[in-house]
Each structure stands twice: as structure tokens, then as C-alpha cells.
């Protein structure tokens, strides 16, 4: 071996060592060749150059390795065969941006389409995030639970498994439970109440307040922002009256004056001292205080108050579970304690049929959110469907566009751009479009969330936490890029399947498009999604219309309603007019209060009739009398009969029809025979159609069973809401029942904005301290119960409308594009004698075939999808054939309209021009 060749071998060995820096797969594939080239070059340079040239060579080789190293590693790590060789992604970005800028119309349509889907999804997601996902704003929120009483019938709220249907618990039961339970670290009681203040300017005022037991502030981790919380002795009836105010009321009512602490406020009948201001970030649990009912005044709950001695439902519990105790364990324990209590203290706990009141609890988050998740799930699903449709629509557009660019891609591929490179370019374009679309979508989401919050029914909890924030934006970004890239990938992969040369040679001329199958799937898919959304919207609208069309059982036009608490009225009257003789019997005092109120209202000019009831229609009945019908044993428990006490003129004032028998008269007084009216549903469900007139039923009260004679039958009147359907009801004269609250109904021909102030003034005459509550029109009350179904119908309807337009645009665009590319074919056909009508039929047929296939697919999907709507529908089955038929008809028409223009354009082809162009 010569000196030269051994030097070369040594150099190659060193070079090989250098190559170990490269990834192993790179070395395996090329290192032999690379070493060979190095050997040749080194050999040449050493022979001709000398030491300097050799050093220069080494320098160059090291530089060479350094330069090619990153690319080699990049491609190895990506697992791809290619590095960034033919150009960096920055270059791709430039090229893609340039290419998009040349077709702004195309770019805009894709971005808007994507934006619509992304905007809808982002907006709804931010609502879901705020309402469902975000933790409650307290320490260790997962250990917080709501505690309440549980009726023996129906443990789960609205059939939602795992969510107990809690109601208020009586103070004796609460205190016993608190004594016996071992599951809680601490437990607080909360009672909602009102207080009457007369310490500031504009006269007396009713304000929302909460009575809370000593543990509450500690459980919520709230320390006073100013002043102090309550002392232990202040939770006793014997103590001075104190209260705390919220930050908001401190600012609004007391101008943020720090000297407010220690100030005495005039609470009607009770001078009370403000001892502290709650911190600004204090958030009372929404499970107990919906956002529009946040109490401003906080009062210590004095458990030894006389009011609490009776087993009356008053309060909810808020507790923190012991570490390691699950909600299920605590529930089991609560069930055992409730059973014990029913045995030891039957009054108010045990029922005649052997069942008893239970005690239940829910996680505070679950209690707050309730069953809202179902509705939000449907909203999110609808938004997701819209996004899917938008993505398919964008993919169709991208596909059409790439077809037009086949020639450009052919040239690019011929010039050394591989398939991967073309795909990358197309993906970059799709990426840019999705970023623009995403930005547009986020704008839409901001507007959408604003609109959602504005129109959403207040029954949706936690709306104050809903915001488009960084988390939501991150989701939006992922969704946008994902959607855009998916749409881009679909068209790019499909397009680059053919080799470059076929592409260059045949581009734009071929009769059959290679992508027509995929496009048909995309267009049909959009149609299918539109069918699902439209059907959902149609069902919700149909349901809403049926709810609106339910006969309420009275004439709502010209009815004004108002409530007055007679017990309070007496307290106020005693307070304001202390001279008065010995009080009448409580029940007489109550109905005399009714008379005062109704007389005062009846004297208002423009009032044609006035009457009173214990509960209005479209309001939860507050009285469920226990009735025993002839043949019932004393432990019979008839469920769900609503009781109403009404004044004699009530039916007439309301316009409710008396079907049989007689209405109440003045003579049906407290000393006369006890009488009652029942409604049609009562006759149907409780009496199985037997004639009720003169039937004597018994109302049990404690151990007594008071006989009542049924004297008439009235038509059904809606109770809480129209969609719950007709329910049994019994009416008694107000003078034979003690109703603490009178709901007055006033019939007038005057417009509401004229009469309402007059009525308010009249109310001020009998109660100068406390303004009347619920003063408004009956129509307003009815509308309020329909906010939720209306909102659902509107929201899904908006999605469906956008979906239909997008699907129609997709169909139109795709067909128009295909027609444009087949000009030559149509020319040839017509040159060979095809009739225009035939060509028109052919194109129309092609478009409609795809659309109809989508329609059929959508219908099948609809049957499956709309089942989730079942619990939201009233009077409509989820697969209501009429709705599906209408949706189908609408989409057939829309499809035909979308196909017509392109089809006509096809027939307008002039064969001569087309053939000349060959």
C-alpha cells in the first residue's frame, strides 16, 4: 500500500467518524456513496494541491456536514424521506399566500365558510366551558355539596340519574341531621328571604336577603372586606339584629362609604346594625341564588327563632364533605338518618302511606348546573354538525380549485416538486385559509356569545362565567387548524394521485373528472347534515308553536296580574297604624286583607273586573291539598292535584268557562257548607269520568278529614307551563281557605303601560311600605314560560338556516364548476344532435341524484339523531313524519334551485365555439 493510499484511507476513516453525527438511516442509505465521493475528491486534492488544499478541503467538508446535518435530522425525526430540501416552509407560506391572493373570491368563500362553522362551535363551546367545565370559584369545589329534603316520589330531578331532586328542608330536620351526620367537615343552612328597608331616599324598599348559619362564610372561604362577620351569639334570636352587605350594595347604596360599618339601618320593624361588607369577589353559590336573585343583604340565621319550630320547609344546606367521603356514601348515610327521623318525629316527615321525607344531597356543581347539560350538549352537537358541514363545504371548494390548477401542479411536479411537496403547498394554503377563517370565526364567536348571553333564558346557570378567553381561543385555534388541514388534505391527497405528465397533458380536458366521486360524497354529505339540523330545528319550532297554541283555559288579552302578601300587609298595617282593636281570627284577617286589596284595585278607573286567586296560571301551584275521594282509605295518597282558592268573580274575570254546575257565590262564606269546583282533568284522571256534581270529597288536614261538596266543573287551565299538559285541579272559595298571598287579576281595555302605574299607585294606598310584586301583563307571564323552548328553537334554527345555505351553495358551486369544465363535452353532445332539454335534464339529474342521496342519508341519520331531542319536545314525536316531509320538500326545492342555474348554463354552450377552441 502506497503512502498516498494509506493517507486517503486514514482521511476516509476520519470522515466516516464525522458521518456518525448523521441519523443512522441516513448513514445506511448513502454513507457508502458519500465516502466514495470524499475518497475521490480527497485523493485528487492531495495529489494536485498539497497541505493547504487538503486543509481547505477539510474545512469545506466540515462546513458541508454542518450544513446538511439539520436537514438530515429533521427528515429523520419527521419520519419522512424528505427534508426541507426543495424549500423551507416559509417559502411555502409565501407561495401559498401569493397563490391565494390571486383568487381573493375563492379565498374569501373558504374562509367565511370555515369561519361560520368555527364561530358557531367556538361560541357554544365557550358557553359549555363556562357553564359546565369551569370549576366553581371556591376552594376544593369538588367536596362542596348541596343538601335538601327529598320527596319519596321520584328521586332524580327530571329523570337525570345521579341528580337528586332536592327541595327545602325543615329546620328541625336540618338540625337533627347536622347533629347525626358524620360525612361532613362542616354544614351550613341557607334560607332565602326578603327584607324591607326604609333607610335611604326613595321610600321603603324590598330587597333580597339570605339568612345563613355560622358555617357558611367559612365554607365559602369568604372573609369580610370591611368590618366583621357575625359573632356566634348573633346566630341566636336573643341577640341584637345585625346584617352584612355585599360589595355591590355598599357601592350602590352607600357610595362605598367605609363608615357604613356600625351604621343602623331602618329595617321595617327591626332596627338593624350593619357589621360588615362582604369582599368584592364574594360569589354566593348559584345553586341557591340564580344570578338574577343574588341577595344583597346577609342576616344570621337564628335557629332558635320561633318560626323554625314547625316542620316547615325553609332552608337548603351547603356542606363540605370530609376528605375521602364520596357523595354516594354521604347519600347512604343521609337516607339512614332520614328514616330514623321519620320514626322519631313523624310530624311533617312521615306520610300516611308509610313513606317518609328523605334527605338527599348533590355535588354543588351538579346542583348548580342541573339538567342544563342536556340542552348545552344539543347546542354543541348542532354547532359541531355545522362545523362538519362547513369543513365539507370548504373541502369541495378546495377540491374544485385544485382541479383548475392541475396544469400548474403538473408543471411544478415536472420541475422536481414531489407529491409530498405539492401536498405541503396545498396544506399550507388550507392552513392559511383556516387561520383567516378561524380569526373570522373568533370574531363571530364574540358576537355569538354576546347574543347568546342576551337571549338565553335565565334558567341556564353560571352565564356570568361565560367568556371567550384564552382557553376557548386555544380550542378555537385547534378546531380551525384541524378543520382546515382536514379539508385541505382531502383534496390534496386525492388530487396528487396521478403522475405529473398525465396531469400536464390531459389537464382540464378530460371527460370524466378523477375527483367526481369524492365531490359527490362531499356535496351529498353536506345535504345530509343540513337535513339533520333542519329536522332538529323543525321539530323544536313545531314544538314551540304547539306550546304557544295550547288553549290556556282563559282569555289572556287585557289581563294584568299582581301579588300582595296579606300577612306582610297586616304586619305593615299594624306597624304603620298601631291603633287598632283586637285582631280578628287569622283566617278572617287573611280574606279580609284580600277584600281590601281587590276593592282598592277595582276602584281604579279603567278596571272592568278584578278577582283574586292563590295562584295564577303559568305559575307553580303552591297548594297541593290531600284529598280523599269516596271509597278512599285514610292512607290513600292522591298525587299531583293542585289547589286554588279563588274569589267569586274569578272565572268570569279570567274568561274561564264553567262547564257544569254553579260557580262560587258570596254566600259560600266561612260558615256555609264547604264547596269546591274541579276541572276536566280532575274528572278524567281522579273520577274516571263519573259525574262529580254533588259528590262529597274529604280534604285531610292533620288528623281531620273535612268534607267538601263539589258543585261545578270548569275547563282546564294551564298550571305551570303549557307543555306539561292538563292536570287535575280543585278550586275552593277564598273565604273557606286561608291564603296568605293574594294574586289579583285585573281585566281592562286600557293598554298595560297606562293601567300598570295606576294599579301601582292603588297598591301604595293599602300598603305604603312594600311595593306590589309581579305587577305585569298575563301575556308577559306566559311569554316568560316560553323563553326556553323559543330560545332552543331559534338557536338550532339559526344553525339550520346557515347549514341549508351552505349546503345549497356547496351543491350549486360544485355543479357550476363541473359544468364549466365540461363545456366541450356539452358542445360535442349538442353538435351530435343532443337536445337542449336533454342536456338540461342530464345536468339537473346529476345534481339532484347527489342531493337526493344526501337527503336520504340525512333522513336516516335524523331518525337516529333527533331521539336526543325527545325531552325537549311537546306534542311532536322525534320522528314526526310531517316535519321530515316538510324538511325534505324544502331541501328538494332548494337543491333544484341550486342545480337549475348551472344546468341552464350547460345548455347555453355554443357547439361551434367549443369545437373551434380544440
Amino acid at each position: 500500500m502506497t503512502r498516498h493510499s494509506s493517507a486517503v484511507t486514514r482521511a476516509v476513516r476520519r470522515y466516516r467518524r464525522l458521518l456518525t453525527l448523521f441519523p443512522s438511516d441516513y448513514r445506511e442509505t448513502v454513507s457508502e456513496e458519500v465516502c466514495q465521493v470524499f475518497r475521490d475528491e480527497y485523493s485528487d486534492v492531495r495529489r494536485s494541491g498539497g497541505a493547504v488544499a487538503v486543509s481547505a478541503l477539510w474545512l469545506r467538508v466540515i462546513l458541508d456536514v454542518a450544513v446538511s446535518l439539520p436537514g438530515a435530522w429533521r427528515s429523520a425525526l419527521r419520519g419522512t424521506k424528505r427534508g426541507a430540501g426543495m424549500g423551507s416552509w416559509m417559502q411555502d407560506l409565501r407561495v401559498a399566500a401569493r397563490s391565494l391572493a390571486r383568487r381573493p373570491g375563492f379565498a374569501l368563500s373558504v374562509a367565511i365558510t370555515l369561519g361560520l362553522g368555527i364561530g358557531a362551535t367556538t361560541a357554544i363551546y365557550s358557553v359549555v366551558d363556562g357553564v359546565m367545565i369551569r370549576p366553581l370559584p371556591y376552594d376544593e369545589p369538588s367536596t362542596l355539596v348541596a343538601v335538601g329534603a327529598l320527596f319519596p316520589t321520584g328521586e332524580w330531578r327530571d329523570g337525570e340519574p345521579g341528580l337528586q331532586d332536592l327541595t327545602r328542608i325543615s329546620m328541625p330536620s336540618y338540625l337533627q341531621f347536622r347533629e347525626r351526620t358524620r360525612s361532613f367537615e362542616s354544614l351550613a343552612a341557607i334560607e332565602k328571604t326578603d327584607v324591607y328597608l326604609s333607610d335611604v331616599g326613595d321610600g321603603p324598599e324590598v330587597v333580597r336577603a339570605a339568612r345563613v348559619s355560622s358555617e357558611l362564610f367559612e365554607i365559602l372561604g369568604a372573609s369580610p372586606g370591611l368590618g366583621r362577620t357575625f359573632f356566634p351569639e348573633e346566630y341566636s334570636d336573643a341577640s341584637e339584629d345585625v346584617l352584612m352587605i355585599t360589595y355591590g350594595v355598599w357601592q350602590r347604596r352607600y357610595g362605598g362609604d367605609p363608615s357604613v360599618v356600625g351604621r343602623s339601618v331602618e329595617r321595617v320593624g327591626l332596627p338593624t346594625t350593619i357589621v360588615g361588607v362582604l369582599p368584592r369577589d364574594f360569589r354566593p353559590p348559584e345553586a341557591f341564588f340564580p344570578s338574577d336573585e343574588v341577595p344583597d343583604f346577609w342576616i344570621p340565621l337564628q335557629t332558635d327563632d320561633r318560626r323554625y319550630q314547625r316542620p316547615r320547609p325553609v332552608a337548603y344546606g351547603l356542606g363540605r364533605l370530609r376528605r375521602g367521603t364520596s357523595v354516594e356514601q354521604a347519600r347512604a348515610e343521609a337516607g339512614r338518618i332520614a328514616a330514623d327521623l321519620a320514626g322519631e318525629f313523624p310530624e311533617g316527615n312521615a306520610f300516611p302511606d308509610g313513606s317518609h321525607l328523605g334527605i338527599g344531597l348533590n355535588g354543588l356543581h351538579a346542583q348548580t348546573v342541573g339538567t342544563t347539560g342536556r340542552a348545552l350538549g344539543i347546542f354543541l352537537g348542532a354547532a359541531g354538525l355545522l362545523l362538519l358541514l362547513a369543513a365539507m363545504n370548504a373541502a369541495t371548494l378546495l377540491l374544485a380549485r385544485s382541479l383548475d390548477r392541475s396544469r400548474e401542479f403538473g408543471v411544478r411536479m415536472a420541475l422536481g416538486a414531489g407529491r409530498r411537496r405539492i401536498v405541503r403547498l396545498l396544506l399550507t394554503e388550507a392552513g392559511i385559509l383556516s387561520v383567516v377563517g378561524g380569526a373570522f370565526g373568533v370574531l363571530l364567536a364574540y358576537g355569538g356569545v354576546g347574543a347568546f348571553l342576551r337571549y338565553a333564558p335565565s334558567s341556564i346557570p353560571r352565564l356570568s362565567t361565560v367568556a371567550v378567553d384564552a382557553r376557548v381561543l386555544a380550542v378555537a385555534a385547534v378546531v380551525s387548524l384541524g378543520t382546515g388541514i382536514a379539508a385541505g388534505l382531502l383534496s390534496a391527497l386525492r388530487l396528487t394521485r396521478r403522475g405529473p405528465w398525465e396531469r400536464l397533458q390531459g389537464a382540464g380536458r378530460s371527460f370524466a373528472e378523477p375527483t367526481s366521486g369524492l365531490r359527490a360524497v362531499l356535496v351529498g354529505g353536506q345535504m345530509a347534515v343540513a337535513v339533520v339540523l333542519l329536522s332538529g330545528a323543525g321539530l323544536l319550532f313545531g314544538s314551540f308553536v304547539r306550546i304557544t297554541a295550547v288553549d290556556p283555559g282563559f282569555e289572556p288579552k287585557g289581563l294584568i296580574t299582581m301579588s300582595e302578601n296579606i300577612e306582610r300587609l297586616h304586619r305593615v298595617r299594624v306597624f304603620t297604624a298601631p291603633e287598632g282593636g283586637p285582631p280578628p281570627s287569622p283566617i278572617t284577617a287573611l280574606w279580609q286583607g284580600w277584600d281590601i286589596v281587590l276593592a282598592e284595585l277595582g276602584a281604579v278607573p279603567g278596571v272592568e273586573a278584578v278577582a283574586g286567586t292563590t295562584n295564577l296560571p303559568f305559575q307553580s301551584p303552591s297548594w297541593a291539598p290531600r284529598l280523599l275521594l269516596p271509597g278512599d282509605t285514610p292512607d290513600t295518597w292522591r298525587e299531583g292535584i293542585a289547589g286554588y282558592a279563588i274569589t267569586p268573580g274569578y272565572l268570569e274575570t279570567m274568561g274561564t268557562e264553567l262547564l257544569r254546575g254553579r260557580a262560587f257565590e258570596r254566600l259560600d262564606g266561612p260558615d256555609a257548607e264547604l264547596v269546591a269546583l274541579v276541572n276536566q282533568s280532575f274528572v278524567r284522571t281522579q273520577l274516571r269520568g263519573t259525574d262529580p256534581i254533588d259528590m262529597v270529597v274529604r280534604r285531610t288536614e292533620g288528623d281531620d278529614a273535612i268534607p267538601i261538596r263539589i258543585v261545578g266543573v270548569v275547563e282546564d287551565v294551564v298550571q305551570t307551563r303549557a307543555e306539561e299538559g292538563p292536570r287535575a285541579a280543585i278550586y275552593v272559595p277564598y273565604t273557606q281557605y286561608g291564603g296568605a298571598v293574594v294574586r289579583a287579576v285585573v281585566r281592562t281595555t286600557l293598554p298595560a303601560d297606562v293601567i300598570v302605574p295606576e294599579l301601582r299607585r292603588a297598591a301604595g294606598r293599602f300598603n305604603p311600605i312594600v311595593p306590589p310584586s309581579d305587577l305585569g301583563t298575563m301575556r308577559g307571564r306566559m311569554l316568560a314560560t316560553r323563553t326556553t323552548p323559543r330560545f332552543q328553537a331559534m338557536l338550532i334554527g339559526a344553525f339550520a338556516l346557515v347549514a341549508m345555505l351552505l349546503a345549497a351553495a356547496g351543491l350549486y358551486g360544485s355543479l357550476a364548476h363541473a359544468v364549466g369544465r365540461r363545456q366541450r363535452e356539452f358542445g360535442v353532445r349538442m353538435a351530435l344532435g343532443a337536445h337542449r332539454a336533454g342536456v338540461l335534464r342530464m345536468v339537473l339529474g346529476q345534481g339532484m341524484r347527489v342531493s337526493m342521496a344526501g337527503l336520504a342519508l340525512g333522513m336516516i341519520a335524523t331518525l337516529w339523531f333527533t331521539r336526543v331531542l325527545e325531552s325537549f319536545l311537546y306534542g311532536v314525536e322525534p320522528n314526526d313524519p310531517a316535519t321530515l316531509l316538510v324538511v325534505g320538500a324544502v331541501l328538494v326545492l332548494v337543491s333544484a334551485a341550486a342545480c337549475l342555474a348551472p344546468a341552464q348554463r350547460a345548455t347555453a354552450v355554443d357547439p361551434v365555439t367549443v369545437l373551434k377552441a380544440e
Binding site: Q36, F38, G418
Partner: protein
């Protein structure tokens, strides 16, 4: 293939000089790696290949893009060496690039940029 559309020329990115030079070096004859490097470095001078690493990355890409392919080695050749040849696509790409350049030269001529220097 003729280049008849200026838009099309503008639409497509030019080949990198290195790629063009490699394709040109293989136009007349098959070469092995070092042979290509020598020819290319002679032609490009200042923008020459740095070394074998860069060369092989480029050759690999061109091969994957179908512009060049392995060629049968001459009978006397070293078995460790791969020989390369142009594919029809590679030949067309190079011709397209040359045409593109020529088209630009035409543009330059039309704008009288080259007046008095080349051919007139």
C-alpha cells in the same frame, strides 16, 4: 413541450441553480457522484457544492422526485459507485427551465436591456 404562456412561467418557481446544474451535467452522459460534483463545481464556481453531504441530499431528492435515476454502471467501474442518469421527466424539467430562462432573455431583449451586447 413549449412554453407559450408567460403566466405559466411566472406561476412556477425556477429550479435552483444547483438542481439545474446537476440535471445539465447528466444530459450528455451518465456520471457517478464525484463526477457530478466536479462538473457542477466547475460550472457554478461561487455557488458550488460544499461537499458530499450536500450533493447526496440533493441527489436523493432528485431521485425521489423522479428527475434522475440510477444508471447501469460501466463494466470497468468501481462497484461501490452509483451512476446516475436523467429520466425523461428530468430532461423535460431541465428543458422547461432553459426555456423559462430563454423566455426571460426574450423579455429582456424586448425591453432593449441587452441592446448592443448580444446578437444585435
Amino acid at each position: 413541450m413549449s412554453v407559450d404562456s408567460r403566466e405559466e412561467v411566472a406561476e412556477v418557481e425556477p429550479l435552483r441553480p444547483l438542481v439545474f446544474a446537476i440535471l445539465l451535467s447528466l444530459n450528455e452522459q451518465h456520471r457517478h457522484g464525484y463526477g457530478i460534483m466536479k462538473v457542477v463545481n466547475r460550472q457554478l464556481r461561487r455557488r458550488a457544492l460544499l461537499g458530499p453531504g450536500t450533493l447526496y441530499r440533493t441527489l436523493k431528492e432528485l431521485r425521489e422526485d423522479g428527475l434522475i435515476a440510477y444508471a447501469p454502471a460501466p463494466t470497468d467501474a468501481d462497484s461501490r459507485r452509483h451512476y446516475y442518469q436523467l429520466t425523461p421527466q428530468g430532461r423535460r424539467a431541465a428543458r422547461f427551465e432553459a426555456a423559462r430562462m430563454a423566455a426571460w432573455v426574450d423579455v429582456a431583449r424586448a425591453s432593449r436591456l441587452l441592446e448592443g451586447q448580444v446578437g444585435e
